[in-house]
Symmetry: C2
Subunit: 137 residues, 2 copies
DNA sequence: AAAGAAAAGCAACGTAGTTGCAAAAGATTA
DNA sequence: TAATCTTTTGCAACTACGTTGCTTTTCTTT
């Protein structure tokens, strides 16, 4: 089963909450906020457990955080080469103003930005907001 | 005096807290967080007043918010064509990992990003982190 | 200077996130 | 499979951040 394998690969013990939360990510189209998880997990897990589980997943490179314009954190699955202690998320994030869903646009890589002399870039976050393909008819 | 004029132009009554907080922005190189203001205002103003003042400044287009990777809000002066109810901040933000200062790179405009079919962009936020010109020797 | 309008301060509240610790569940070995 | 050790969970308590209602103070206008 995919979920258990992901957990094993990352040397995590297999627990109900981890299976449930990872399952939510695998079945979700967009990114999830802490509140989404709390809701969808069926009130079965403690808030603290969810916080800690998300933290572990981020540390292991299973999910990454997305800073949104309204300053709430969302989480989404890492696609490929993220490993423990180091994320490689070079894609653009899109937040729909209508439905509120945040998508990882995995095929859209972050652009190169020319910085003024003296500035050294390390990481670039691009968050675009607008109307998504599902809301635009 | 510049501060009073800015307030007048924006149809705001001139109060101690507004003058003080606006002064902090005018004298600051980088962006300011709520905590910075609370500290530098000399413990003279109530937390609530600072929150409300910042909100008013954002509404009037005097300052804009910057979403940082660590999910704290910072505020910085709007440069030119921001007016009440509508911001036009098309510049890139830079956060130094060493000194922690967040800069508005006013001369660096946000790049165009080609989105997949069906997505309509409305606003684009670019936050780059790395080492700033003052920390790099 | 007086009256009306706007803002500040205070107290109380709500929510988000963290920490320490005991109980429960998972992993490991025999 | 049972026993042991390790890890994780849940609970309680706490801190930090931000908000709201209301009274008092300050600004503005005449």
């Amino acid at each position: 089963m995919q979920i258990d394998e992901i957990l094993k690969t990352n040397q995590l013990s297999i627990t109900d909450s981890r299976k449930k939360i990872l399952g939510l990510f695998l079945n979700s189209d967009g990114a999830l906020a802490h509140a989404d998880i709390e809701k969808n997990a069926g009130e079965k897990f403690d808030r603290v457990t969810i916080y800690r589980t998300l933290q572990v997943f981020v540390d292991k490179g299973i999910i990454h955080t997305i800073p949104t314009p309204d300053n709430s954190i969302k989480y989404a699955l890492c696609k490929d080469d993220c490993v423990e202690g180091h994320h490689h998320d070079h894609h653009v994030h899109f937040q729909c103003k209508q439905c509120g869903v945040t998508y990882c646009l995995d095929d859209v890589t972050t652009p190169d930005v020319k910085l003024p002399k003296g500035y050294a870039a390390d990481q670039i976050e691009v968050v675009i907001s607008g109307i998504c393909k599902n809301c635009k008819q």
